[in-house]
């Protein structure tokens, strides 16, 4: 093992759990040692930190603009107050959890439009929701507040000090859950969907589930903070949850990068400390919102946040360590054409009046690599899009292992073993190589297998951040990740783009071994005919959406019609 492998040894859960225990101990220490006033402020810090933690999931990880975090807190506070008013069974802790669940459900509903709406449209929706909830709360108030019913803290957390400890416990549990989600496939999905929905679906992850889970988790944490503040203060008041505060929290989440757990806590401290310091100095506390707003503009214009700045400074100068490609001693055996895996019959795609594909037939057998070539605009990528499910309006039939794929979603096709890579960069830069491979694989990949796979294609070491890797290498990581899922069929859309000629040839050597090593059949789109000739025994040529030739590579590449279409009339191969 090279040092690079050892550096990223899996301490994924060990260190965070240790931090959690230290956090609990510190919380206990503070609950005993702090002066009364600071204990109350400390609870406020934790309430804000939980809210920010949730906001970090939806805006930071999943990249959606959500301006209504405190509207979810309203739900939590409302449920807690209502259950208290009707003297529901259980105590404040249970009611608070019920409030979090209720808020999570509302989050799902508010998140539903997010399946079609992105970016700024989603911001309009969530600001609309925040404004509506703000007005409604002002009008109707919380249950019991009009008649002065107080929400009592549960025993044994009745005093300010013990309640602070309870808050710390709640936050540590929430933080551990969020962290576990962030480093799991779910969290990788959030980051993937923020970068590319198509890429996410091609990894077999449902874009719908991914987005809604981010909204639900975020809203549940908002609801939890609402319940907690209700217990802290003894009643819920509309001003705590004003839409303006939601905006401020959103801006703060952007400033410090609250998808990082430590920065969520730090954000909570800022949220409470800045106005408190201003108050001590005799300056109006509203200046804190101005400070947050200006920092927000700074963060947005510089495209970074406090958490990333701190981490970049702490990180050792990260050079990308590329794993030495393993020596290939095995000979590529002659493929023995086996049973058909993928059968395409009469595939047609129209964009308006243009027939991008017209009556394409193709049978891919197990263990086979087909080269798909043709001039620009011949319909090669359109064919990959149709096969992988992104063009549901196509005509003709596609069957995988005897199963008709009509109306099967791209994510489902990926899970059935029909995988693809993209010509464009669809590899989320915020992930590490390892997290990305595990996300795309959708199965437990033992570490030796991971290392073996990455070194097979000459990819960077598992712990490398994808942001530090050039686009050509990212394509290789994409191929490796799709292979890790053990696909039945792998569709490669120009995997060698961005590589040098020598790297092309080296890649060809490896692509040729995919069927024998990983059991996948391959369709390879490539412009470099040397590469295609070296890898594929069979070639299919598309021209203007129709099959021009299909058969043995030497016969196809010497076909007059192919030469005319592909190389131009006057040029010769």
């Amino acid at each position: 093992m090279s040092p690079a492998d050892r550096r990223v040894s899996p301490t994924r859960y060990g260190v965070p759990l240790l931090v959690a225990v230290v956090g609990l101990a510190a919380g206990w220490g503070l609950s005993v040692g702090l002066p009364d006033y600071y204990v109350f402020l400390g609870t406020s810090v934790i309430v804000a930190a939980i809210s920010l933690l949730g906001l970090g999931v939806v805006t930071g990880s999943a990249g959606m603009m959500a301006l209504c975090q405190l509207s979810f807190a309203v739900i939590g506070a409302w449920v807690t107050s209502e259950l208290n008013l009707v003297k529901a069974p259980g105590n404040g802790i249970l009611w608070m959890v019920a409030g979090a669940i209720a808020a999570g459900i509302v989050g799902l509903l508010v998140g539903l439009p997010a399946l079609r709406l992105r970016g700024v449209n989603l911001a309009v929706v969530t600001l609309g929701f925040a404004a509506a909830v703000g007005l409604a709360v002002n009008q109707y108030q919380f249950p019991g507040t009009a008649i002065g019913v107080q929400v009592f803290r549960p025993q044994p957390f009745f005093t300010d000090r013990s309640f602070f400890l309870l808050s710390v416990i709640v936050m540590v549990i929430a933080a551990v859950i969020v962290y576990a989600l962030q480093v799991s496939r779910v969290g990788s999905g959030w980051r993937a969907v923020a970068f590319s929905e198509r890429g996410t679906a091609s990894a077999g992850a449902s874009v719908r589930t991914t987005k809604l889970s981010a909204f639900a988790v975020s809203a549940a944490l908002g609801g939890l903070s609402g319940g907690l503040v209700t217990l802290q203060v003894g009643f819920a008041s509309a001003s705590t949850f004003a839409p303006l505060q939601s905006l401020a929290l959103y801006v703060l989440a952007i400033v410090n990068g609250s998808y990082l757990v430590d920065m969520a806590v730090f954000g909570g401290i800022l949220w409470v400390a800045v106005p408190e310091i201003l108050k001590r100095l005799g300056i109006p506390q509203d200046w804190s919102l101005v400070v947050f707003g200006v920092l927000g503009v700074q963060a947005l214009t510089s495209r970074t946040n406090l958490g990333e700045i701190v981490r970049a400074a702490a990180r050792r100068r990260s050079e990308v360590v590329v794993l030495e490609p393993a020596a290939l001693d095995d000979e590529v055996p002659d493929p023995t054409p086996d049973a058909p895996v993928l059968i395409v019959q009469g595939l047609g795609v129209r964009f308006g009046n243009v027939a991008a594909l017209d009556g394409v037939d193709l049978t891919l057998r197990a263990g086979e690599i087909i080269g798909l070539i043709g001039p620009n605009g011949a319909g090669k990528s359109t064919m990959i899009d149709a096969l992988s499910g992104f063009l549901p309006g196509h005509t003709g039939t596609i069957t995988l292992d005897g199963r008709d794929l009509a109306r099967v979603s791209p994510a489902r096709r990926a899970r059935l073993g029909l995988r693809r890579t993209f010509q464009q960069d669809r590899v989320p830069p915020s992930l590490t190589v390892e997290a990305y491979v595990r996300f795309v694989a959708r199965r437990r990949v033992p570490r030796p297998e991971l290392i073996d796979l990455l070194s097979f294609l000459g990819c960077p070491a598992p712990g490398t951040r994808l942001a530090a890797v050039d686009v050509g290498t990212r394509r290789l990581v994409e191929v490796a990740a799709q292979l890790a899922s053990r696909p039945r069929v792998l569709l490669l859309d120009e995997p060698a783009a961005g590589l040098s000629h020598e790297e092309h040839l080296a890649l060809g050597e490896r692509l040729a071994r995919i069927p024998i090593r990983y059991g996948a059949s391959v369709i390879l789109i490539e412009h470099d005919l040397d590469l295609v000739r070296g890898v594929c025994r069979r070639i299919l040529v598309l021209d203007f959406g129709k099959v021009l030739a299909d058969g043995d590579r030497d016969a196809v590449l010497s076909d007059k019609a192919v030469l005319a279409a592909y190389m131009g009339e006057t040029e010769l191969l």
Partner: protein
């Protein structure tokens, strides 16, 4: 009901004018300007603050409009300088921060209580049957239509409009053709600031006029702008007027207050889902 609807026409005029501004900003400045009404609010509050110690009303109003224009220009300058090539979401994110800053600053400078506005227009314009139509309503509806028509004429009939459209649709190409991007786009921000502050000055005396309520008028205005998909000015005006009338009509019905609050939100969600029904994926390919 009808009385309520006609009473809501004043808000409708405000929504319509702001919706026109939002549409123009979206087309020319590639931004959904969440701070659109906030700059107007701040300008209008400045007028009231000045009018208090005895500055003549007309002068205070003019200064207020200049304040609104300047603030809008500053936000525009920040975006045009540092986020010239950024996508709409990031550019709009800056306006969210600006909205926060403007409301907070208005709390600090002008307090959190509604301010004693002196109406520029007051009293009835005419009556329809038993329903009184106020001067404010008439003026606002006229302003909304006038702003929309003027914006359309400038955009489609003048060289300036052509340059502005080129700049927003192909910024780099436009710059290579010698169109100076920053002054033009900041100019758009300033003009939209002037228009917004002007209508807020007119409407503020008749509305619940605290800083947050006024600034949040951007929500129903965005709903109206969405009817025109942030492109069609005529539909933005219609959307604003209809939304205002619906709001006024619902205000008459005691039991439906909750529906009234959620009306802009529901309109936004409904319209967006309809407009984006084909947008299954984030990118075309």
């Amino acid at each position: 009901m009808i009385q309520g609807a006609l009473a809501g026409l004043a808000s409708g005029g405000l929504y319509a004018t702001i919706a026109v501004c939002l549409t123009v900003m979206s087309r020319l400045a590639r931004v959904v300007n969440f701070a659109q009404v906030a700059v107007g609010m701040f300008g209008a509050f400045s007028s009231v603050w000045l009018a208090g110690p005895g500055v003549p009303m007309w002068l205070a109003t003019v200064i207020g409009i200049l304040v609104g224009a300047t603030l809008s220009g500053i936000v525009g300058l920040v975006i045009a300088t540092w986020l010239a090539e950024a996508d709409v979401a990031v550019r709009s994110g800056v306006t969210v921060a600006a909205l926060l800053v403007l409301i907070a600053l208005s709390f600090i400078l002008f307090g959190t209580k509604p301010l004693p506005f002196t109406p520029i227009f007051r009293g009835a314009a005419f009556t329809v049957g038993t329903v009184v139509i106020s001067q404010i309503t008439v003026v606002l509806v006229i302003v909304a239509v006038a702003v929309a028509v003027a914006a359309r004429l400038v955009l489609t009939r003048t060289l300036l409009g052509l340059r502005l459209r080129a700049l927003s649709e192909r910024p780099i190409t436009a710059e290579l053709l010698g169109i100076r991007s920053r002054p033009l786009s900041v100019g758009v921000w300033i003009v939209s600031g002037i228009v917004t502050t002007f209508v807020v000055e007119i409407v503020a005396p008749s509305q619940s006029n605290d800083a947050v309520a006024l600034s949040m008028t951007v929500v129903p205005a965005a709903a109206a702008a969405l009817l025109g998909a942030f492109r069609r000015l005529d539909l933005a005006v219609v959307g604003g007027l209809v939304l205002g009338m619906l709001d006024g009509a619902l205000a008459q019905l005691q039991g439906l207050a909750l529906l009234r609050y959620f009306l802009p939100f529901l309109v936004i969600v409904g319209l967006l889902l309809w407009l984006q029904r084909g947008e299954v994926w984030d990118v075309a390919r």
